[in-house]
Each structure stands twice: as structure tokens, then as C-alpha cells.
């Protein structure tokens, strides 16, 4: 008797394609704007401000790259190679600034270093200077922005450089020494070139974050692509021109996405084979130890400790009604939307990774890696793409009212955070032997049954990690939330932005502290991973 194989369309093969359509739709809508007419607003932007957008973006990129490179690789080199007072703690806390989104650091910087900022006042009081004394003049300019971005984003370069330094093998370094290179020559002719691909990958992440930012540049009144897009849409109500500007920024970002992917591909250079025993850390003391400690604590002081002190000071002194009714409502909205996004994103990432586990096709692999570049898309561009996508659906089907609903927010968060969820599950699945799947199949378990009875229970930790990472990212996300939120639906990020835009920094402090506290969750995870990597070495 012949039994014919059923060729049915499997849910597991269809799902990645459905999600792909959801990912692609906003991007396609943005790019199609390039093929429509360019109106007077575009001509105005093109003739008067576009050059400024581009030049400001380039200055920002160059400045931030230079500073983050020095802080990120410098601190990574010091904590990897030297043993000094406080080194163990510094190693972990050097990533703390990641918990503070650039826009919150920008607000606190204004409070700290502006004309009548805390630092100027403290200096005047300590040294009994004249009330006209100003050490820090205007920091609301491009240089201020470079400092703000560098001190909050350098951990990307730090983490990646530290891992790369750790993986350099002693045999390679010793080979350099036997070939007549001095210690310094070994550093700049071997160590640095070996970690170059890793550092470029880290820098690309930093640049993408900076180009995507809206809150910090807006606060410092620097005209860039994102502020231009926001003003064109929010001020001129010209969605088409905003989309055309977005397309240009997207092209910029695409270049850095490709650069980052290419550099990651080359990271193999920093993992030479053979013995991976590292140099023994050199113990330093006295002035050298003090210098190393100061060099490593400085970025944490500027990027985390001082801003936190400023926020707490504002909050305690000027906003005593910490848990007022409005704050509780805003916190509830934030938790609700982050919870929903965290669950949906984690479930979708779990299902897609499970679909890959069931059958790994080239198409599915490409689609999944495409999803992971969503993190690089600026929230503002995503929001505008989704807005256009939804308004088109609303026009086509008069019964639908998607625009202004919570779905827009959820799609934006899904696209922005999928990479975080995906990495948790990718790692989780690699820890489950394929033999377990084979055993389950032999025992008549497949598809949903296999997922429910075997993979989901074994991936609980991955699910929790994914959920927490997405939750935190959504709490911090500003531009997409600002544009896509339903009417009268404020979140902590939006409320911080609105208070800060009205120069009501004291009121902004409370939601900002809440964001930073939530932001610390993945930092603690990362910190543990860094400690583990050290132990395994």
C-alpha cells in the first residue's frame, strides 16, 4: 500500500513570511516616497538646511567616533592588562552608562554644566567666585552633543574591545616579541590591528545609535536628519517630505549596517587559534594605579554617577510628590505597553527560531538575519513608515482605524527589539541537543506539541532574558512612542521628553530615574556575562 506524502503549507514556513511583510511594509513605504514628486517644502529643505543636516551628522559621527574609540578601547585595554586598586569593580561598572538613554544624559548635562548649572554654582560657592564666573559656557551645541553621546555610548566599544583583547593569545604576542618588537610595538602593530574589525563593529553601533537619536539633539537644538524629519512632519504636517528625508537617513544607516555586518564577519582575526592563554595581568601600584583608576572611573562618573546624583537631587528637592496620581498612570501605561511588547516580541522570536529548528532553509535563515537589522532603524523613521502604512490600510478598508491605535506602537517595538529577543533564543536553542528533538519525534511529538512539551520548558530562561531585554528597550524608546502613541497615552519616556522640552527639568527627573532603574536590568545581566567571560578565561 502506498502512503503519499501530504504537501501542505505549514504554519512554520508561513510565519516568517508574514512577519517579513510586517517588517518590510514601513521601510517600503518610506522608500516609495522617493519616487513621488518633490514639493516646495523639499525644495526649501534642499536649498537651505539639507547641507547643514549632512554636515552636522558628519561632525557628530567624527567627534563621537574619536571620543568613544579613546574611552572604549583605552579602558578595555587598562582593565584587561593591568591589576590595580578597584579594577574588579570598574570592570563591571564601566558599562553602567548604557542604562542612561542619550536624551536623559543630555537633560542632566544641561542641569550640570549649563550657565547656571550645578557645577558652575558649586565652583562659585567653593572658591567664592564672582556671580559672573562661568567655567562651562554654553554646552547646548554640537560639542556638547558629542560629549553626551560619547559618554553614554562608549560601552559598546568597551564591551567588544574587551572581549577581543581577552581572546588574543599569548603565543601570538610572544611571537611578536621574538621577532624583535618592543612592548609598545606589539600593542600598536599586533594588538590594535587584531581587534580592529571588532572595534569597527562597535563604532558602527555607536554611530547608528547617534544617527537615530532624536531626544538629545532636539534638546541641544542641533539640526540633524531626525530633528528635520520631526519638524517637517510635526511642524509642517508634510508626511511626504518627512518620508523623503527619512529615505536619505535610511541610506546613511544602511551603509553603517553593512559596515557593522562586514566587520563582525572579520572578527575571526581577533580569535587566533592555538593557546589562548593570556599574558598575566601586570600589577601596578602607586601613581600608576591612581592614574589607571582615574582613567577608568572618569567615564563612569560623567556618564552615570553625576547624572544620577543630579536626577536624584532634582527629584528629592523639587518634586516631593514622587508617586502622584499622574506618575502612577504614566508608569502603568509604560509597564502595560512594555509588557505587551516584551511578550509579543519574545513569542514571535521563539516561534521563528523554532521554525528554523524544525527545518533550516536558506530563505528562513536570510529572513531571520534580515529581522535582526531592525535594531538599527531609527524609531522616528519606523514611526513615520508605520503611520503611512496604517493610513493606507485605513483608506482601503473604511472599517479599520489602525492609525493612532496601540498596534502601531507594538509593530515599531517588535521591529526595533527583535534582534534582542532573537539573540536570546538563538543562544538558548544551541544549548538543546538535536538528539532531544529526535527522541521526542520518535515518541510521536512534533510541531506545537514538541514546542509546548520540550522546547518551551527548556527555554524558560531564554524567554525571561528576551522578555526583560525587550521590556527595557521599550521603556527607553522615545521617538517612535512620541509619534505613534494613542491620544493621551503618555509613557515615562514621553513624559520625560515633554517636561524637558518645557525646561521643567525637576518634573522630568522622576520619570527619568524610573527609566534608568529599568535600564539597569540588562546591565546587570551584561555585567554577569563579563564576569563569567573573565572566569572562563
Amino acid at each position: 500500500m502506498k502512503v503519499f506524502r501530504k504537501k501542505t503549507i505549514s504554519f512554520w514556513n508561513i510565519l516568517p513570511i508574514i512577519v517579513l511583510i510586517l517588517f518590510l511594509a514601513p521601510i517600503i513605504f518610506i522608500f516609495t516616497s522617493l519616487f513621488s514628486n518633490f514639493n516646495d517644502n523639499w525644495n526649501h529643505l534642499y536649498n537651505y538646511v539639507l547641507i547643514e543636516y549632512i554636515s552636522n551628522s558628519i561632525y557628530l559621527i567624527l567627534g563621537i567616533s574619536f571620543l568613544t574609540l579613546i574611552i572604549g578601547t583605552g579602558t578595555a585595554w587598562v582593565v584587561t592588562n593591568y591589576n590595580f586598586y578597584g579594577k574588579n569593580i570598574l570592570e563591571s561598572i564601566l558599562i553602567l552608562p548604557l542604562a542612561i538613554p542619550p536624551y536623559i544624559l543630555a537633560y542632566t548635562f544641561t542641569g550640570l554644566f549649563d550657565l547656571n548649572g550645578t557645577i558652575n554654582i558649586i565652583l562659585r560657592n567653593i572658591f567664592i567666585f564672582d556671580s559672573n564666573f562661568i567655567l562651562f559656557n554654553n554646552i547646548r551645541n554640537i560639542y556638547g552633543a558629542i560629549v553626551v553621546f560619547s559618554f553614554t555610548l562608549y560601552p559598546y566599544v568597551y564591551i567588544i574591545s574587551r572581549t577581543a583583547f581577552l581572546s588574543q593569545s599569548i603565543s601570538l604576542i610572544e611571537a611578536g616579541r621574538t621577532l624583535g618588537l618592543s612592548k609598545f610595538q606589539v600593542f600598536h602593530k599586533l594588538s590594535i590591528p587584531l581587534i580592529r574589525p571588532a572595534v569597527i563593529a562597535g563604532l558602527s553601533l555607536v554611530i547608528m545609535e547617534a544617527l537615530s537619536d532624536f531626544g538629545a539633539v532636539e534638546h541641544f537644538s542641533i539640526v540633524t536628519f531626525t530633528t528635520g524629519i520631526f519638524r517637517t512632519w510635526y511642524g509642517m504636517y508634510d508626511l511626504k517630505t518627512a518620508m523623503q528625508l527619512s529615505s536619505l537617513l535610511l541610506l546613511f544607516i544602511t551603509f553603517f549596517i553593512l559596515l557593522e555586518k562586514y566587520s563582525r564577519g572579520n572578527q575571526i582575526y581577533s580569535k587566533p587559534g592555538g593557546s589562548s592563554n593570556r599574558y598575566k595581568m601586570k600589577k601596578i601600584s602607586g601613581l600608576k594605579s591612581l592614574f589607571a583608576f582615574s582613567f577608568c572611573i572618569f567615564p563612569v562618573l560623567i556618564g552615570f554617577i553625576l547624572p544620577m546624583i543630579q536626577l536624584i537631587f532634582w527629584s528629592i528637592n523639587y518634586n516631593l510628590s514622587f508617586f502622584d496620581k499622574k506618575f502612577i498612570q504614566i508608569a502603568f501605561n509604560t509597564i502595560l505597553i512594555s509588557l505587551l511588547a516584551g511578550l509579543i516580541c519574545s513569542f514571535i522570536a521563539l516561534l521563528i527560531n523554532f521554525s528554523l529548528r524544525l527545518k533550516k532553509t536558506k530563505l528562513k535563515i536570510y529572513i531571520n538575519s534580515f529581522f535582526s537589522i531592525g535594531y538599527a532603524l531609527p524609531g522616528l523613521i519606523l514611526a513615520i513608515g508605520i503611520l503611512k502604512f496604517f493610513s493606507t490600510i485605513d483608506d482601503l478598508f473604511s472599517n479599520f482605524i489602525l492609525t493612532g491605535s496601540i498596534f502601531g506602537l507594538l509593530i515599531a517595538y517588535l521591529i526595533k527589539s527583535y534582534a534582542l529577543a532573537n539573540s536570546s533564543f538563538e543562544y538558548g536553542f544551541t544549548n538543546i541537543s538535536s538528539g532531544i528533538d529526535d527522541s521526542a519525534k520518535i515518541l510521536k511529538s512534533s510541531g506545537w506539541n514538541l514546542l509546548r512539551r520540550i522546547h518551551f520548558p527548556l527555554l524558560k530562561t531564554s524567554f525571561l532574558t528576551s522578555f526583560l531585554l525587550v521590556f527595557t528597550e521599550v521603556v527607553k524608546e522615545l521617538p517612535a512612542t512620541l509619534i505613534l502613541r494613542p491620544f493621551n497615552f503618555d509613557t515615562l519616556a514621553v513624559s520625560t521628553y515633554i517636561y524637558a522640552a518645557e525646561e521643567r527639568m525637576y518634573q522630568a527627573a522622576t520619570p527619568a530615574i524610573a527609566i534608568v532603574i529599568v535600564g539597569l536590568i540588562p546591565i546587570i545581566f551584561l555585567s554577569k556575562m563579563i564576569q563569567n567571560s573573565k572566569v572562563s578565561k
Binding site: 502512503v3 529526535d438 521526542a440 519525534k441 515518541l443 511529538s445
Partner: protein, 221 residues
């Protein structure tokens, strides 16, 4: 009278992607209650034969029939979970999040008499004291008992054993072989056993074959 063949393999050929075939023109017939063992050097493809029968791989040529039904040929492919066979892996592959009782119950969860079947197997394999323990709390021999008990729970027509006594010390191996032999004979279980040890094959009174250059040859010891 037609003989009830549990397994029939005809002209089987298999290769990994574009590499040369590792199995050629392989033929095998197995009657109910027969025990058949396959020997071969490592990498000769003996475990691959089990994976093809189980449906984890698909052959490039040939036909596989289980219980007189085609489960795999050029046009047909019945997925693993519908072939009604048991497989005990070299690595045991017990489910780490389930206790011993639930590991054994896994394949018969919807069976109306699942609790009775599990209870019988637990008693048969001497696992009563271990039923609430988790796999990582068991010794290698105990894990192997659980793996075999679990594979027998759904009453498979054909049981495939891939190096089932690998990694066990001689005393434990002999003990376990004795127990298994009794159980297999009692259940009249049809078995294919892949092993590199001729003594194991002789112990199970099986037909013995050697996999050489991709072909099975019967061996008379």
C-alpha cells in the same frame, strides 16, 4: 501464508549532500521477534542505517517498508513520529526537565492506560525508587534503563538500539544485558542493534552482519 515482515529495505543508497554514497544497494528483511545486529568501524554508516529507518534522513535511492507499509521511497515519506518505532540513542537523550516517570510516559501521554503501562515498565526495569528523580541524578546504567523503558512504552513494532551499552563498565553491562534479554524475549520485540562489540551481538542471539564499504554482509561467528 505470507510472512509478516516488520522491516524490509530494498536497494537502499545514501550519501550526504554531494559526497560519495556511504551506503550502496543495501537490502534487509526482518521478521517479527528477530534480533539483528550491525557491526562496522566508526564512520562506516551503521548509525545512518538507523537514522534512515527512523526517518531522520532520506535515502537517495531505494525503498523502506515498516510493517508492510512504504515509509520512504522516491515519492513517499512518512515522518518519524508516524512510523511507530522506538530508538535508543547512544547519548540516551532523556528530557532533562522531566522526572523519570514523566520521561517514560512522554510517548503515551494520551493513551487511556498510560499510568498502568508506565507502572509496569517501572517495575520491569527496577526503577521504582528512581521514578521521581531527574535524569541528571541518575548513573549511566540507570539512565540507559530509563531510555530503553521509555522507547518500549508506546509498544513499537521495531526497536532500534544505537550502541546501547556504550560507556558502561563490564559488570554493569553484563547485568543490564541479562535484564534486557529477558525483557526483549518476553515481549517478542523485533530489534536492530548497532554495536562495535561482537560479544553483545552473540549475547542477544542475533543475526550478525558487518557493514563493509557501504554493504551489509552476514557474518557467521
Amino acid at each position: 501464508m505470507t510472512i509478516n515482515l516488520i522491516l524490509e529495505i530494498t536497494n537502499l543508497e545514501f550519501s550526504y549532500k554531494k559526497e560519495d554514497p556511504i551506503l550502496y544497494n543495501l537490502n534487509l528483511k526482518l521478521k517479527e521477534g528477530e534480533i539483528f545486529s550491525i557491526h562496522g568501524s566508526s564512520g562506516s554508516g551503521k548509525s545512518t542505517i538507523l537514522r534512515l529507518i527512523a526517518g531522520f534522513e532520506k535515502q537517495s535511492k531505494g525503498i523502506i517498508k515498516i510493517n508492510n507499509k512504504i515509509v520512504s521511497d522516491k515519492n513517499n515519506f512518512i515522518p518519524t513520529e508516524k512510523r511507530n518505532i522506538g530508538l535508543v540513542f547512544q547519548d540516551k537523550n532523556l528530557f532533562p526537565h522531566l522526572n523519570i516517570k514523566n520521561n517514560i510516559k512522554f510517548g503515551i501521554i494520551n493513551h487511556p492506560n498510560s499510568s498502568i503501562i508506565v507502572e509496569d515498565l517501572i517495575n520491569l526495569f527496577g526503577l521504582k525508587k528512581l521514578e521521581n528523580k531527574y535524569p541528571h541524578e541518575l548513573s549511566g546504567g540507570e539512565q540507559q534503563r530509563v531510555a530503553i523503558a521509555r522507547s518500549l512504552a508506546p509498544s513499537p513494532k521495531l526497536l532500534l538500539l544505537d550502541e546501547p551499552f556504550n560507556g558502561l563498565d563490564e559488570t554493569l553491562k553484563n547485568e543490564l544485558q541479562d535484564e534486557m534479554m529477558k525483557i526483549f524475549l518476553e515481549k517478542k520485540q523485533t530489534i536492530i542493534i548497532v554495536t562495535h562489540n561482537y560479544n553483545e551481538s552473540k549475547f542477544f542471539l542475533s543475526k550478525i552482519s558487518e557493514l563493509r564499504s557501504g554493504r551489509l554482509q552476514l557474518v557467521d561467528l
